[in-house]
Amino acid sequence: MVLRRLLRKRWVLGVVFGLSLIYFLTSTLKQEERTILDRNLLEARDPDHRIPWKVRFNLGNSSRQITQCRNSIQGKTLLTDELGYVCDRNDLLVNGCCNVNAPSSRQYICKSCLANGCCNIYEHCVSCCLQPDKQPLLESFLNRAADGFQNLFTAVEDHFELCLAKCRTSSQSVQHENTYRNPQAKYCYGESPPELLPI
């Protein structure tokens, strides 16, 4: 009965309402804050945190039969397909693979690449990087990649995509922002950036 009478009072109701309102507001706001916090946490990771990469390497079975190939699309005259063959644009088959029988086609070319893993020709870099024995090197790079690359390399799905992305020129390729560190060998599959040449 006392409880009932108390409940009847307007101020009690007001207090109840007010408290629930405050609770409601703070909980919604907190939720919002938490999402923002989450994003920032994702970005501000501690230095030895590893990129959660999910690259699947096709261990050594490059001879597997595939009917459709992805290839490096962009080349002026050359292309590299996902099996590591480099060929002339004219020797590309309808399925996107290099014509293996064409004289220009060769697998795993490292011809224009230097010892530090930097190449003069993008397609050579991709092809060289696809070589199965480069896998440990790539894995160790993925484990230590700089934060700036996190967006890129967490989105990479397999060996071929990794090589396409890794060989591109990036923030690691430039000095003074507008100049290549080494204009002759700027496409790198290796861990180190291109050798720094004086301007």
């Binding site: 409940l7 629930s20 088959l93 890129l152 989105a155 507008n178």
Partner: protein, 1041 residues
């Protein structure tokens, strides 16, 4: 090259050293420069305001009945041809000649006429002339990138208030409108195309989470050093909204997949390296359309330019803003000036080119070649409405706005194509430029191919077959004003070949090549044999595009012939295609480039002026400072210094005076001096080969005359204007002064002339003309027989170095000299080039140039100069030492003349003069149509095949926005499907919950009340109300909320 990259946002022109990529705040900030608004009365036009809204017919009836009494009056209604003209209006603009106040009285007396006011023209200009007397400014200037950036930002913020200078009735202009509606995107929406399945990337300032305007934000990524994904400026939100907003201010493609790349910080800083990484991610994500509302003058930033090529090679359609540096010519921004990118300029809603829109040819090709046509197309960029940072709409201007209009249209277009294989950067660009509507009275270096026409582009794209096409698609050197500057000067025998730089777009594949050699086929009935044509072209067309440079020259037999010659160039482009067999598969496409030129007899020597382009250097790549030191926020000389870029006004003036101006893009040794009256060297930064110096001396002995407009060169000042770049911890030191005076002195020393290292500034009067001398040098040495004019000026060098103002009397600034040899030429020197340069010019001195040309070409000495009080004895050069080259300068890095050497740089061996190999003509007995434009269309596209279901004469419904009205804006007939109510943010559930709480508490009160007082009242009376209210509760629409 110096470690500085300057990239600026097309939203403004900001230079920052070191790669600070500036971005454009669309935010209106009042700069320290005052924005002046002047109201002028435009004499014969009156605005007649009515009491209500009436149709055009009724309005005209009212006015004629009101003016019937005053029949003598000559009046007519000014037609307003805008989309609103079909709707009732409450005013009319009437033009009344000989209007007096009394003649307006009958109008005002009419019962339906509220008032009559004179039409006013509003000028909004920047108060440009920054006073050059603020002593303290030198100290805070040039020290680092940041102050530079800020001042330039403010300049830019002023620009987007100014609109087309051709506009006559600007007061009617400023109704912000839905750009997607005006471009008739709703026709495509009604066909079910809303951009679904197309990935659009917006490289900008980011976007807040859960913006109410967007339903399909796939991903937001941050590439800056700030730990946020949100837009702190509103630029990125606006741009994304123009592309994909689904409500209020609607974008073009609301169902497209948005990928937000945050590459600008809230401080509007960005770096090339951020872009490189972000672009790589865009390639990986297989983005279809990418909008870049940024740009900068540094087309020599190889990592950036290469990356843009790489991006388009991966089939990303790049759309970029051409820049906000207009109306000056030579101000195109990179990457919009690249062949593989769709460069977008801005217009206002009256189809005038927006004043801020950058224009003029590209300057990559100088000095030897000629620039390409850019922008590609123009579209609305002035007063466009787009999404506000958190909600609502706002209206903004700038090419940053025009670019997403095209990007949105492109996104929508991509989603209409069934076979996506056919869509690539080249085919999209081909469709856009082939469908664009040309604006009358505007040349191609301002409007490109014209104004975006979405529906025609849709038709073309949906009947598209892979092919090559050319931009421009024909060469008609007689067509004015579209083909300006070609149409401004006919060609003649003996002139420098006219070069037209045509871009080949290859929709067949990312690489292509030109098969065989292009063929020149003159039309014999149309005098095609009177011209020679040489063609050079890109060895490989990659990515999607290449150049085709057509040089046209008159044959010797036509030296005194006058007429029009026509013919065409045939080019076959081939691209590899994927094939099944062992045989090479190729696809080919043949395009015809019609050519039409006007030939006149060779003008006399005295009428011919040769402009030295070879010795003009500019940014990029090196730091070549501005010629006017007062222009602090634009420290670089980057407009090309060509007669068709920033010396355009001077060129037009010389043409109007009857001179024929040609450009020398090769060393001085490469022209026949006996053909020319005067050689003009203006603001040259380059060194000279010893052979050039000898040859010029010989030429002048034989009657060639020389005019030199020099500029400042003072080592101490150059050291002072160096600045420390915080990003590289390096000093950026200019490689020359405004001009390379030591090199010029080497050139003219043989006649006993020299410029000093003085630096002067000030106003004076000469020949009744006001002259402003902005940062020029003086003449240190001049032959005794010469005429020298001196003026009183301020020593700007002292001002820069010591902040002291010293007035110097008798500074020799102008010298004229007749060489003594028989038939020898004349030489005229002037110490400052600003007054003939369009950039930052305050007062022109074309009259002085006229006088000097009269002197050099005709040996007429203007008496007002020779008998002027300002004439002084020629200085002997003893009192002032001559400028020395700045020790340790890096000019050799950018010079075509010097090369690095142990010790001082040495001249290279003289390069061979350019040699054109003329195509062997294959004459045709054919005639071409007289109007090339109408007949030259994109090949093999049958537009009638694709029928639009709904092409009614669509008029967007326009409601004027009253000044205080904010965002909310109902879309007439808006058909955006989808989750309109689902994502209205978190506010709605909150309000619902609150409402429910209030209702609940109300019932609790009611309940307790009723239980407490049961005995006194009859419960039956209460019950029904209770039930009623209970029923109301679940709907949540209780009005008490």
């Amino acid at each position: 090259r110096p470690p500085f990259v300057v990239r600026c946002c097309s939203f403004g022109l900001f230079y920052f050293p070191f790669l600070v990529i500036f971005f454009c705040s669309m935010v209106t900030r009042l700069p320290w420069r005052c924005l002046m608004i002047i109201l002028l009365s435009l004499f014969p036009e009156y605005i007649v305001a009515f009491n209500g809204y009436f149709t055009a017919k009724a309005r005209s009836h009212f006015i004629s009945s009101a003016l019937r009494s005053a029949e003598a009056l000559d009046w007519h209604i000014v037609l307003r041809e805008n989309p609103a003209s079909d709707f009732p209006s409450d005013f009319e603009v009437v033009q009344i000649r000989q209007a007096s106040h009394s003649s307006l009285l009958p109008l005002e007396d009419h019962p339906y006429i509220k008032r009559v006011t004179p039409q006013r023209k509003v000028f909004r200009t920047l108060k440009y002339m920054a006073p050059c007397n603020n002593v303290t400014r030198w100290t805070q200037k040039w020290q680092s990138s940041r102050p530079l950036r800020r001042t330039s930002l403010s300049l830019a913020s002023g620009f987007w208030h100014a609109t087309g200078r051709h506009s006559r009735r600007r007061l009617l202009r400023a109704i912000p409108r839905h750009v997607a509606q005006i471009l008739q995107a709703d026709v495509l929406w009604q066909m079910g195309h809303t951009g679904s399945g197309v990935k659009v990337a917006v490289f900008d300032t980011g976007l807040i989470e859960k913006h109410p305007h967007f339903k399909n934000v796939k991903e937001r990524t941050n590439w800056t050093n700030e730990k946020t994904l949100d837009d702190g400026l509103g630029h990125g939100t606006f741009v994304a909204g123009v592309i994909a907003s689904m409500r209020e201010c609607q974008g073009f493609a609301p169902d497209s997949e948005l990928h937000i790349f945050r590459v600008f910080t809230n401080n509007q800083v960005s770096y090339t390296s951020w872009f490189l990484d972000a672009f790589n991610y865009a390639i990986l994500k297989k983005i279809d359309v990418l909008n870049l509302s940024i740009g900068g003058p540094d087309f020599m930033d190889h990592p950036f330019v290469d990356k843009v090529w790489e991006l388009t090679a991966n089939r990303v359609i790049m759309v970029s803003a051409i820049g906000n540096d207009g109306p000056l010519y030579g101000t195109l921004n990179n990457p919009a000036d690249q062949m593989d990118v769709i460069g977008v300029g801005g217009i206002d809603f009256e189809d005038n080119i927006a004043r801020f829109s950058s224009r003029g040819m590209t300057t990559w090709e100088l000095p030897g070649g000629y620039g390409r046509v850019k922008p590609d197309i123009v579209t609305y960029g002035s007063g466009v409405r787009g999404s506000g940072m958190k909600e609502g709409c706002r209206s903004l201007s700038g090419t940053s706005v025009a670019s997403p209009v095209v990007a949105g249209a492109v996104t929508l277009l991509v989603s209409t194509v069934l076979n996506r294989e056919l869509v690539n950067p080249a085919s999209m660009k081909q469709a856009l430029i082939a469908s664009a509507r040309r604006l009358p009275g505007v040349n191609m270096f301002e409007q490109g191919h014209g104004k975006l026409d979405l529906l025609r582009a849709f038709q073309i794209l949906n009947s598209y077959k892979p092919q090559a096409s050319l931009s421009p698609s024909y060469i008609d050197l007689t067509e004015c004003p579209y083909m300006w500057p070609y149409c401004s000067q006919p060609i003649y025998y003996g002139g420098m070949p006219t070069i037209v730089n045509v871009t080949i777009l290859n929709g067949m594949g990312v690489t292509g090549r030109i098969l065989d050699k292009p063929i020149w086929q003159p039309y014999l009935p149309q005098n095609g044999d009177h011209i020679d044509v040489a063609v050079s072209y890109s060895p490989v067309l990659w990515p999607w595009a290449g150049y085709l440079a057509v040089s046209i020259s008159v044959t010797k037999k036509s030296a005194s012939w006058e007429g029009i010659a026509q013919g065409h160039v045939m080019v076959t482009v081939s691209s590899p295609v994927r094939n099944n067999s062992e045989v090479d598969g190729e696809m080919t496409s043949t395009v015809k480039l019609p050519v039409k030129v006007k030939i006149v007899p060779t003008p006399p020597r005295s009428k011919r002026v040769l402009w030295d382009q070879y010795h003009n250097l500019r940014y990029p790549p090196g730091y070549f400072p501005r010629d006017n030191l007062c222009m602090k926020n634009d420290p670089l000389d980057w407009n090309g210094d060509h007669i068709h870029t920033n010396f355009r006004d001077m060129y037009q003036h010389l043409r109007s005076m009857g001179y024929f101006v040609e450009v020398l893009g090769a060393p001085i040794t490469c022209f026949d001096a006996s053909q020319y009256g005067t050689l003009m060297m203006v603001d040259s930064e380059e060194e000279y080969f010893p052979e050039e110096i000898t040859k010029l001396r010989r030429d002048i002995d034989k009657g060639l005359s020389l005019i030199v407009f020099s500029d400042w060169y003072n080592i101490s000042v150059m050291r002072k204007v160096k600045f420390y770049d915080e990003n590289t911890r390096q000093w950026w030191m200019p490689d020359t002064g405004g001009a390379n005076v030591p090199a010029l002195n080497d050139l003219i020393s043989v006649w006993g002339m020299a410029f000093s290292d003085g630096l002067y500034e000030g106003d004076f009067t000469m020949k009744m003309n006001q002259v402003y001398y902005a940062s020029g040098c003086s003449i240190a040495k001049f032959p005794e027989e010469g005429i020298v004019i001196a003026k009183t000026l301020k020593d700007q060098g002292l001002e820069v170095l010591k902040q002291e103002t010293v007035v110097v009397e008798g500074v020799p600034i102008l010298g004229m000299y007749q060489t003594p040899s028989e038939g020898g030429g004349r030489i005229a020197l002037y110490g400052d080039s600003n007054c003939i340069d369009d950039s930052h010019r305050q007062k022109d001195c074309f009259w002085l140039l006229d006088a000097l040309l009269q002197y050099t070409s005709y040996s007429l000495t203007p008496p007002s100069l020779t008998h002027s009080k300002s004439r002084v004895a020629p200085p002997a050069g003893s009192d002032r030492h001559l400028p020395e080259r700045l020790e340790g300068n890096h000019l050799y890095r950018y010079s075509k003349v010097l090369e690095a050497h142990l010790g001082d740089p040495k001249p290279r061996p003289l390069p061979a003069c350019p040699h054109l190999s003329w195509s062997k003509p294959q004459p045709l007995n054919e005639t071409a149509p007289s109007n090339l434009w109408k007949h030259q269309k994109l090949l093999s596209v049958d537009m009638d095949k694709v029928v639009l279901p709904n092409i009614r004469n669509y008029r967007p419904q326009v409601r004027p926005l009253s000044p205080g009205e904010s965002g909310a804006w109902d879309i007439p007939g808006g058909i955006m499907p989808g989750r309109y109510n689902q994502e209205v943010g978190q506010t709605i559930p909150m309000f619902a919950f609150l409402g429910a709480m209030v209702v609940l508490s109300f019932f609790v009160v009611q309940l307790t009340k009723s239980k407490n007082k049961p005995k006194r009242r009859k419960p039956r009376v209460k019950r029904p109300t209770y039930f009623q209210q209970q029923q109301l509760a679940p709907t949540g629409k209780n009005p008490t909320v």
